[in-house]
């Protein structure tokens, strides 16, 4: 299961796991220490039992799932508990979840890429199955009967007229045997048609805490004697240094402690000034009064236009760039083609802006640094904080909280550094809270992208296609160890800047090149933003496919289906992609519903985040365009996923709604600019995500065929912009190639 969709020789856990699992960081089987041989660990009487470290079964019958993934709105812990509960045959009401700290024993800790369920489904299923088998074995031993004569269900083992609850069996102290990886792999798992709790829309376990104010986020954490820090924002995003700091005016603020000018050995902050006081309000007032003489650094004159100039320079040089896809001879074929279409597509700077502004609290206790704050990538954040503090990574622990939004912002742990360094400087715990302006202007924003696509059609099909993508590479900033090799094994490539361009369409001549815009990286060190590379690669490609379909005189749906033939490496995946498209056609009324003049359907397809863990996704947007004003109305967005298996149907729908509207927000409402080396937006007036009044009618649904589950949190984000752009072009003839799509751009394209 799952592996058959692997075209690139990478397992379904995808690229990150394949790199990290072969290094120092293991992948989470959760095998307990000393389990190389069977039965090394025996549960102590009246304590608890853990077949693997992912789950604990208590003498009270409570089953705790140790959740190594961050909770940022996906209800991932609830899904984990469902998966364990299914194979463990526990009672759902006995299930609990615990979000764990950054102990290395958990292996790779990263939450992103819509990977969580796809990567852990097998391990969690086996953890549950191992627990069930151990409990059955314990009962068999206790009753002197063969294990095969007993069954487990609803948190009890029964057989031969006897019954014992899981809690009773654990309390008796006879449940033995931590499981080795080999034994786990030998377990037979349930067929999907016998699932009882997987596939049920249970109430998410985190929701009750989130409606009564008791859910604790990092920003809610407090330590006795703690001080509060407020960043004094540098005038450029990266490269500015503080020549001198004058806090004399701030001394008039009651509660002010001092302004710290901090050196960050990790290099993430070039100039870091923090005003510290005994309340956050006092720190905020003081920070406004601190005078800093800044050296603006090397990027003070960079703006968006400069980045595009650099992108075009890179694209024009055939020696630049790493190769992601090469089938046949695309350039040679285009050179011999009668008519070649070329188009440039762009996206601007996009911010994460999670509702909980980035923040962290630090404390040094018994020689160990404790950092408190929500995080998505502990495996990388721990060494980053250690580098800033100049201590060994073994001396840093990250404590997890509910995340008030992640969207990739909390994959980079740079926001721990101001708190850590201020705490080190003062010898007292300090909590540093970014205000909204700090949060936006210090964001590891999604790099602006500039792409050039060229293609030709012969006999109604694409004869050749090239896609050159230039942007700042997020992996260079967040996790350089995750850079891969390009297909020629000659150059490094950031797969998280190019995923999505490796499509399931069969193109005989296809060349995809990724160009590294170093100026973009230096000016605004980039990060991963929800949907990552496919947020811009799919935008350009799926728009351009419509341009080619138009050239071929073909219907956009028929044109796509003609290229989804499932040939060679595209087998199995192309068919599933075609199936979600057909479902979206049926649900939206594409081709059957009569639309008025000026209204059209637009189509876009995507594999979600990456081929190796594909969630096949289709969107059909119905859009009405006013050809005089350029104003347009989204009548409806129809989105269909193929999720393989849905753990919680309502959870999938919730994630689909969220991903769809995030896509809408990027398509129509969100962007900011780089001005004088700084991020221009300062708050939610200058950066304007979707609000309720902007939500169009949605029809989100999924296909679940019972095969391996795939991710749901991002795939829809990738298809909304191209579907809307394609609908606008079909309705009005106006092709907009720069996100966000605005009425002014549509009007300009109409002229």
């Amino acid at each position: 299961m799952g592996e058959q969709f692997n075209a690139a020789g990478i397992g379904r856990r995808g690229f990150v796991a394949s790199v990290l699992a072969t290094g120092a960081v293991g992948f989470g089987w959760g095998v307990l220490p000393g389990t190389g041989s069977k039965g090394a660990a025996m549960a102590a009487a009246n304590a608890s039992f853990s077949p693997v470290n992912l789950i604990e079964i208590g003498a009270d019958g409570i089953v705790t799932v140790n959740v190594t993934k961050s909770e940022m709105g996906q209800h991932v812990g609830t899904a984990f508990a469902q998966i364990v509960c299914e194979e463990l045959e526990a009672n759902w009401t006995s299930m609990r979840i615990k979000h764990v700290d950054s102990d290395p024993k958990w292996g790779l800790m990263v939450t992103g890429g819509s990977w969580s369920i796809n990567w852990t489904f097998d391990a969690l299923s086996r953890a549950g199955a191992a627990g069930r088998q151990s409990l059955i074995n314990a009962a068999a031993k206790q009753w002197g009967v063969p294990a095969a004569s007993l069954t487990a269900a609803d948190g009890k083992v029964t057989g031969g007229g006897k019954a014992a609850s899981y809690g009773e069996l654990v309390a008796a102290g006879n449940v033995g045997g931590a499981w080795s990886e080999d034994d786990l792999k030998k377990l037979t798992l349930k067929p999907s048609n016998s699932y009882k709790i997987i596939g049920k829309s249970v109430q998410a376990l985190d929701i009750p805490l989130k409606v009564n104010g008791t859910a604790k986020y990092g920003i809610d954490f407090k330590l006795p004697g703690m001080l509060y820090g407020k960043i004094v924002l540098p005038p450029t995003r990266n490269g500015a240094t503080a020549k001198s700091v004058d806090d004399s005016a701030a001394k008039g603020v009651p509660g002010f402690v001092q302004a710290l000018s901090l050196k960050d050995p990790s290099g993430k902050f070039t100039g870091l000034v923090v005003a510290v006081a005994d309340t956050y309000w006092a720190a905020t007032r003081a920070a406004a009064l601190v005078k800093v003489d800044w050296d603006l650094g090397p990027n003070a004159k960079v703006d968006d236009a400069a980045l595009i100039v650099e992108a075009k320079r890179l694209q024009a040089d055939p020696n630049e760039g790493a190769t992601w896809v090469r089938n046949g001879d695309a350039e040679g074929t285009l050179a011999k083609s009668g008519k070649v279409l070329s188009a440039e597509y762009t996206t601007g700077l996009n911010l994460h802006a999670p509702m909980e502004p980035t923040n962290a609290t630090a404390e040094l206790k018994d020689g160990v640094w404790h950092l408190y704050g929500g995080n998505q990538f502990q495996t990388m954040s721990v060494p980053l904080v250690a580098a800033a503090l100049e201590v060994d990574a073994s001396k840093v622990v990250l404590h997890q909280f509910w995340l008030g939004g992640g969207f990739g912002r909390r994959l980079l742990g740079d926001y721990f550094i101001p708190a850590a360094l201020a705490t080190k400087a003062l010898g007292r715990p300090v909590k540093v809270v970014y205000n909204r302006t700090d949060d936006m202007r210090l964001d590891c924003a999604r790099s602006p992208s500039w792409q050039k696509l060229s293609g030709a059609v012969v006999d109604g099909k694409v004869s050749a296609l090239t896609q050159d993508v230039a942007c700042g590479w997020p992996t260079n900033n967040v996790a350089p160890a995750l850079l891969g090799d390009d297909i020629d094994k000659k150059k490094k490539i950031d797969v998280f800047a190019i995923n999505g361009a490796d499509v399931w369409y069969s193109f005989p001549n296809h060349h995809v090149r990724l160009l590294d815009n170093k100026l973009a990286e230096a000016t605004v060190p980039p990060g991963y933003l929800r949907s990552v590379a496919p947020g811009f690669t799919v935008w350009a490609l799926e728009s351009f496919i419509d341009e080619l379909a138009h050239e071929a005189g073909a219907d956009p749906v028929a044109f796509r289906l003609a290229h989804l033939d499932g040939a060679g490496a595209n087998d199995k995946g192309a068919q599933r992609l075609a199936a979600v498209l057909r479902q979206a056609v049926a649900r939206s009324g594409y081709g059957t519903k009569k639309l008025p003049e000026g209204t059209s359907f637009g189509v876009a397809l995507s594999q979600g985040q990456e081929r190796a863990a594909a969630t096949f996704t289709a969107c059909i947007a119905e859009v009405a365009v006013n050809k005089k004003t350029g104003k347009f109305t989204i009548n409806k967005l129809t989105v269909v996923y193929d999720v393989g298996t849905a753990i919680s149907p309502d959870g999938v729908i919730s994630q689909m709604e969220s991903a769809t509207l995030w896509g809408l927000s990027l398509a129509l409402y969100e962007t900011t600019t780089i001005r004088d080396g700084a991020i221009a937006a300062a708050n939610f007036d200058g950066y304007t995500p979707t609000r309720m009044s902007q939500v169009p009618p949605l029809d989100v649904s999924y296909i679940a065929t019972g095969v391996f589950p795939t991710g749901t949190g991002e795939p829809a984000t990738t298809v909304i912009a191209p579907a809307i752009g394609n609908a606008i072009a079909l309705a009005s003839g106006a092709r907009v190639r720069a996100l966000p799509i605005t009425p002014a751009k549509v009007k300009a394209a109409l002229a």
Binding site: G73, V211, A353, M355, E356, E657, F684, M692
Partner: protein, 171 residues
């Protein structure tokens, strides 16, 4: 509740009722209610989002009306009765909270205290709203997870619950 003196001899003591308990506070009079609630009274259910009346995450009730607590100084709140998410329903069972669970609204959940407080005040003034009225009332509350479909549905559900007997104990 343990109230810490933050400022020496700056202002008169400020008296305020929070979730039914009268408090006398010695804090700067220009300190926003938001930070008094969070950092002085440890009522962290009220969230900091933007500090500029742009997102609604900090919404509380002041004498029964929804206000953005980042925009109300503690001096201006003196003498008033404040209700926060912690005091909305005795056991978190206000009809809006019940509806929020029924419709599985929260994703990351960070904005939801503000959404719930805004919705509760809106419904107490308009117990049988049209869809357009809900959208207008809730449009100032940003949800970065975009749970808007569910929020809108849950406001309707809360109105139904209130109609069928679940009293709105709006503070």
């Amino acid at each position: 509740m343990n109230i810490t003196s933050r400022e020496k001899g700056s202002n008169a003591m400020i008296t305020i009722t929070v979730n039914g308990h009268q408090q006398t506070l010695d804090v700067p009079s220009d300190m926003p209610l938001l930070w008094v609630l969070r950092d002085v009274l440890d009522l962290t259910g009220t969230k900091f989002g933007c500090g500029q009346n742009l997102c609604g995450a900090c919404t509380v009730h002041k004498d029964g009306k929804a206000v953005r607590s980042c925009q109300v100084s503690i001096g201006d709140a003196a003498g008033s009765s404040i209700t926060t998410i912690e005091g909305l329903g005795a056991k978190g069972e206000h009809p809006v909270q019940t509806a929020w669970i029924k419709e599985q609204v929260p994703a990351c959940g960070y904005c939801q205290s503000g959404q719930i407080m805004n919705a509760a005040a809106f419904l107490s003034a308009n117990p049988d709203p049209e869809d357009e009225e809900i959208v207008r009332a809730m449009d100032g509350n940003l949800c970065r997870c975009s749970q808007y479909v569910r929020i809108q549905r849950a406001v309707k559900t809360a109105a139904e619950i209130m109609k069928t007997g679940g009293a709105a104990t709006n503070g």
